[in-house]
């Protein structure tokens, strides 16, 4: 809400010397936050004075232009009292005219500094200004010629032009709809600014009594439209201009001046907060009827939009049909035009919820709708209509029709019981009941009783419905700045939960492994899943669709972190960072298609069954971890050659995370997009699949702008964390000597090393301390389709030195089982 200061001060007095900042500081502290103080002349500094043109000598120039060499009386403003010589390019003035003169030293908007300078053979000491040069509009047809009674030469011209007029822009919260009016703001000044007094309520006026002579109005839906007031002005001059003060104030308030009739309704809306609608009375046919729209009824509103109405919409009709969307926007057929001479003024009170729904349904935001949907004082319809009539008559030369139509009456305000000590209990301040009563009365409430107060809010405060609402009124007037600072004493906490701690460790582990965490948006499109190469029946294609995504290309919640991560990796490569290791943890969305989430009542706690129904309706949202590596895993340099990322790095990173959680991961081959069909590991913990890792399919690399051999992993972190070992058993070590045995086994190339190792482990028995694959060989020496796996086995007993041959026997048993299980043959 933008409020010209002069308008505020028309309605309330503040002590002499109160600065604008003092007013806005106080209003900010009581809830009307200052956004900005603006004035049209704020960018003008230095001497800007009234000048009287004494002489004007046209001088044609070689370039075809004619300039005027003028002398201008600027009084004593130039320090000498002598006329000022000024060159002026405009011609729309004559000697004797009063003009706006900026003298050397002045600065105009845009940082335009004025000096005395040689031009066209004269020393031009200043400038005669146009409206545009002063930032007052686009009018550059000529300079401003002031009215003859504007003042004396040498006087500061700012007050004459309204350049000093300050406008205060406030942020108005939805609960303070009354502050969308000068009336409301002035009232806030009255209660907020020390020493403010003399509030002159613009809605407090004597209005003519209702009679039967006015335009007939029938309200069929009294709940939707509790009050409808109609007045009429005849003989209105459609060509009458809007007075300057009104144009200035409407403009300063952020609205566009249109015509006197429209401007007056807007002016009164700004002044009182009550939206007014004006009809061309000659275009009305018969009685006005207010009702709800019928299914599929149509209306073309003032903005030229043809709308199909909803049975929830309140409409204003006459014999011709629908002529307006009540309280939201008028219709085209009865619109006031430049030939309108009779105006029917409507000031009606509308149901706020209905206004909100209609506005949202038809996507209409208007100044009227904004006020009506937040709640307007229902008691001021007659006063607002009367004020409009007064201004139309005064400035438009019309006559007020004697008819006064008033249908309905304002709803009663509720009486709310408020504990006298509530404000003290809520705020922690020693606020007495007397203070509370005083504050409540200051904001317009009626208060009776003691102990438990009976409080009736003023009609302009429909937001005050609960006892707690009144406590806020008291506390804000006592002052939020006076609330003391006291730390509560929580019971001893239990700290972070184990999963919360482990999640942090996962991040730290990967950072330690050289991966950098990124955060991406969880939005995804089908094209992204195509780029991943997901099969048509891949469960990751089952996505939660957004009704209103920001972009059609990313209209779903993602089921996998990989698209975002691969895209981020691609961007890094694009920026010239060719070696990239990144990771992300985030929830993914896996629809359960479990039906709607109920809208539960709010006047009681939901039952357990209701809460379960809420949760059941939500998609599964497991926390995933994904990582991508591309380029070199180990950089090259003076120490040796670089090592590019390999599928094994992705597996190893997941193993590092698992190890941080006390878990061991086993890997087995699987074919799954977006990985290379021969280089994808399915990762399991205790037989449960937790995710996948490996080299990314070359086509997928290409799709994301990544080089081949990029690697990636994605695991379900919730599964890992759920399985994390909580209390690890302390290890014991044998101090007896170790016996080492190496074996090399030849198997078919297709036999997984993990199977061979498992057989060796089992066959070796309890004496086996560790086993390590130290070489994999393929080539002539083992034959086509075969590979040799070389293992180092370490044997040790916990309680004794191994006897001669004991380790060898265990080794032989291991090899025998491996042979049986995997067809392994020991290499000689």
């Amino acid at each position: 809400m933008k409020a010209p200061l002069s308008w505020i001060l028309d309605l309330v007095d503040v002590p002499d010397g109160t600065t604008t900042e003092e007013i806005t500081d106080r209003l900010t502290l009581t809830g009307l936050k200052l956004e900005a103080i603006v004035s049209p002349g704020r960018d003008i500094t230095g001497p800007l004075v009234i000048g009287r043109v004494l002489t004007k000598e046209p001088e044609p120039q070689k370039n075809g232009k004619t300039i005027n060499w003028c002398t201008v009386d600027v009084g004593d403003a130039n320090g000498t009292g002598e006329p000022q010589g000024i060159v002026c390019g405009a011609h729309n003035f004559e000697p004797g005219d009063l003009v706006v003169t900026v003298l050397p030293g002045g600065v105009l908007p845009g940082g335009f500094e004025i000096g005395a300078r040689k031009t066209y053979g004269h020393l031009s000491a200043g400038m005669i200004c146009s409206a545009r040069e002063l930032g007052l509009g686009d009018d550059h047809d000529g300079i401003i010629v002031l009215p003859p009674d504007a003042g004396e030469p040498g006087q500061d011209v700012r007050p004459v032009l309204g350049l000093d007029e300050e406008t205060i822009e406030f942020e108005v919260n939805p609960d303070r709809a009354y502050a969308l009016s000068l009336r409301g703001i002035a009232r806030e000044v009255l209660v907020s600014v020390e020493g403010a007094s003399g509030f002159r309520d613009p809605a407090l006026r004597d209005t003519p009594a209702a009679n039967d002579e006015g335009h007939p109005v029938v309200v069929e839906d009294a709940e939707g439209c509790p009050v409808f007031v109609a007045r009429r002005v005849d003989g209105f001059d459609p060509a009458a201009p809007t007075p300057d003060f009104m144009v200035r104030r409407i403009t300063a308030a952020g609205m566009r001046p249109i015509s006197l009739a429209v401007d007056v309704t807007n002016y009164v809306m700004l002044e009182t907060g009550r939206p007014i609608h004006g009809y061309d009375a000659d275009k009305l046919q018969g009685a006005i009827v207010v009702r709800r729209a019928r299914e599929r009824e149509k209306l073309t509103t003032l903005d030229g939009t043809a709308r199909i109405l909803d049975p929830g919409d309140l409409v204003v009709t006459d014999d011709s049909g629908i002529i307006g969307l009540g309280g939201v926007m008028g219709g085209e057929t009865t619109e006031i035009s430049d030939s309108t001479t009779s105006i029917l003024v409507e000031a009606a009170h509308w149901d706020a919820v209905s206004m909100f729904r209609t506005g949202r349904r038809h996507r209409i935001t208007s100044e009227a709708g904004k006020r009506n949907e937040r709640g307007v004082d229902p008691t001021i319809c007659e006063a607002a209509a009367d004020r409009v009539v007064e201004l139309l008559v005064e400035h438009g030369g019309g006559t007020a029709h004697p008819g006064v139509t008033v249908v309905g009456s304002p709803p009663e305000m509720p009486v709310v019981a408020v504990a006298g000590d509530l404000a003290a209990r809520v705020s922690g301040m020693p606020i007495t009941e007397e203070q509370s009563v005083e504050c409540l009365r200051a904001v317009g409430c009626e208060v009776t009783g003691s102990g438990t107060l009976s409080v009736t809010p003023p009609p302009w405060r429909p937001d005050l419905t609960d006892a707690q609402d009144f406590s806020e009124e008291v506390v804000r007037l006592v002052g939020y700045d006076k609330v003391p600072s006291v730390l509560p004493t929580p019971p001893s906490g239990r700290g972070l939960t184990r999963p919360q701690q482990l999640r942090r460790w996962v991040g730290r582990t990967l950072a330690g492994e050289g991966y950098v965490e990124v955060v991406s948006f969880p939005f995804v499109g089908e094209a992204d899943l195509d780029a991943l190469g997901l099969a048509a029946d891949d469960p990751r294609r089952d996505l939660l669709r957004l009704s209103n995504p920001l972009s059609a290309e990313a209209g779903f919640m993602t089921s996998t972190l990989l698209p975002g991560l691969l895209r981020a990796a691609g961007k890094n490569v694009g920026h010239g960072t060719t070696d990239v290791a990144i990771f992300e943890t985030g929830t993914v969305t896996l629809p359960r298609h479990a039906g709607p989430a109920p809208i539960l009542p709010v006047d009681r706690r939901p039952t357990e069954a209701e809460l379960e129904a809420l949760d059941a309706a939500l998609p599964a949202q497991p926390l995933h971890l994904a990582l991508v590596g591309t380029g070199d895993a180990v950089s090259g340099g003076w120490w040796g050659e670089a090592r590019p990322f390999s599928w094994a790095d992705a597996v190893e990173a997941v193993r590092a995370v698992a190890a941080a959680l006390g878990l061991e991961v086993s890997a087995s081959a699987v074919e799954l997009a977006p990985w290379h069909p021969g280089r994808c590991a399915e990762l399991s913990v205790d037989g449960e699949v937790v995710g996948h890792a490996g080299e990314v399919h070359p086509k997928v690399c290409q799709a994301f702008g990544l080089p081949k051999r990029t690697v990636a992993a994605e695991v379900d972190l919730d599964l890992l964390i759920a399985r994390a070992v909580h209390l690890r058993t302390a290890p014991t070590f044998s101090s007896f000597p170790v016996a080492k045995e190496d074996v090399a086994l030849v198997v078919d190339a297709s036999v997984p090393a993990a199977d061979v190792e498992a057989a060796l482990r089992e066959g070796a028995g309890e004496l086996l301390e560790s086993i390590r694959l130290f070489d994999v060989y393929t080539g002539d020496q083992v034959g086509e389709g075969k590979k040799s796996l070389a293992y180092a086995l370490r044997f040790r007993a916990p309680d004794r030195t191994l006897k001669e041959g004991e380790a060898a026997a265990a080794r032989d048993a291991a090899v025998a089982l491996a042979a049986q299980r995997t067809g392994a043959v020991q290499r000689a």
């Binding site: 705020s427 906490g493 991040g507």
Partner: protein
């Protein structure tokens, strides 16, 4: 070698003559002194202290002397050999020291070479900031509560006193999911976590909820469809605005520096009443000569978040008896706090995944 001297005749044994022994000793000591390195010394040891060295051979001749002469000759040879061994050991020490010095000198490297073999990882600064904030509250005895990002409409709105026709619903531009009849949204705030907490725990409740939230804001320098919030909720007997103020003052001083306090301005949120905007004292200018301060843009204060006393209607919907308990709640943008704490003007680097950005913050902030 001579045979045993059985007849007690004094036998002339030349190598055992005093001058001879002395000459051997001198020769040995001279050779030791001349040995330039450990290899040379090794040969000297063989030549002058080995089994076949003159002194060793002379020693063997002692038996050939008459008993009465043996003692003197034995002493003479023994002293000479002792002196040689001593000299050898001393020289050995010196040469070893020289050798080591030389070796170390030869092994000198250029320590200014880059040691960037392993790339350093890093965690995302918003993760770090969330953890930092969580830790501040955990230190006060709070717990960290969590909830789903895709949330039931009832929990995101209705339970928080934002009924279907509440004008404030349009303040938060919500992502809705399909089908709309499912009443499922992307949470617009972390407040549904507060509702969930009240629904599943009994007071006293002291929790803080950091998390991702979503609004349909076009992505630009100051808006993002996804951002991070931290909300706090306290429900206990006798909780007042003063406790809220005390908590936020403490939070502000922990996050922005000693002495940094907060300011409340009346505001409106459906879930709190009274409600306040909370500003934090600018930690750069501290409100002194603010006019030129970039961080607070001359205000002396920085808009930080919203807060208030929990609306009794919310307590009722979440099963808390408002006659017994009261509470406060507050919420701040983690991204926003990060931006002014770390002087970031454009938020987009937070979500672009450029490793140069996250890496700059390492693993703690």
């Amino acid at each position: 070698m001579s045979g045993p001297n059985t007849d007690y005749d004094p036998v002339e044994v030349t190598p055992l003559k005093a001058d001879q022994v002395e000459a051997m000793r001198e020769a040995a000591l001279a050779a030791i002194a001349d040995a330039a390195d450990l290899d040379a010394l090794k040969q000297v040891r063989i030549d002058h202290a080995g089994d076949r060295s003159p002194l060793a051979l002379a020693n063997r001749e002692i038996g050939a002397l008459p008993p009465q002469a043996r003692k003197e000759a034995g002493q003479r040879v023994g002293q000479a050999r002792g002196a040689v061994n001593q000299a050898l050991a001393a020289r050995q020490t010196v040469l070893e020291a020289e050798h080591e010095e030389r070796m170390l000198a030869e092994e000198t490297v250029d320590v200014s070479l880059p040691t960037t073999r392993r790339r350093r990882g890093g965690r995302h600064p918003l993760t770090l900031q969330s953890e930092l904030i969580a830790d501040l509250f955990v230190a006060m005895g709070y717990e960290v509560a969590e909830g789903p990002v895709v949330e039931a409409e009832w929990l995101n709105f209705d339970a928080l006193n934002l009924g279907p026709d509440h004008p404030a619903r349009t303040m938060q531009d919500t992502f809705w999911t399909e089908p709309a009849e499912d009443h499922v949204v992307l949470r617009t705030q972390t407040s549904p976590v507060q509702a969930r907490t009240m629904l599943t725990r009994t007071p006293p409740i002291y929790v803080v909820c950091p998390g991702r939230v979503f609004r349909t804001d076009e992505y630009d320098a100051t808006h993002s469809p996804m951002f991070h919030q931290v909300e706090g909720l306290v429900v206990d007997e006798g909780i007042t605005m003063a406790h809220l103020k005390g908590t936020l003052d403490h939070f502000a001083s922990q996050l922005f520096g000693d002495g940094i306090t907060t300011r409340f301005r009346p505001s409106y949120f459906p879930f709190t009443e009274p409600s306040a905007e909370v500003d934090v004292r600018c930690f750069v200018c501290r409100g002194v000569d603010s006019a030129s301060c970039r961080t607070c843009r001359g205000e002396g204060w920085i808009e930080w978040g919203g807060c208030g006393v929990v609306n009794p209607r919310v307590l009722v919907a979440c099963g808390v008896d408002p006659e017994v308990y009261s509470g406060f709640a507050f919420g701040m943008g983690i991204d926003r706090s990060f931006m002014f704490r770390h002087d970031l003007e454009d938020l987009r680097p937070l979500f672009e995944g450029d490793v140069r950005f996250s890496s700059a913050f390492g693993t703690e902030i």
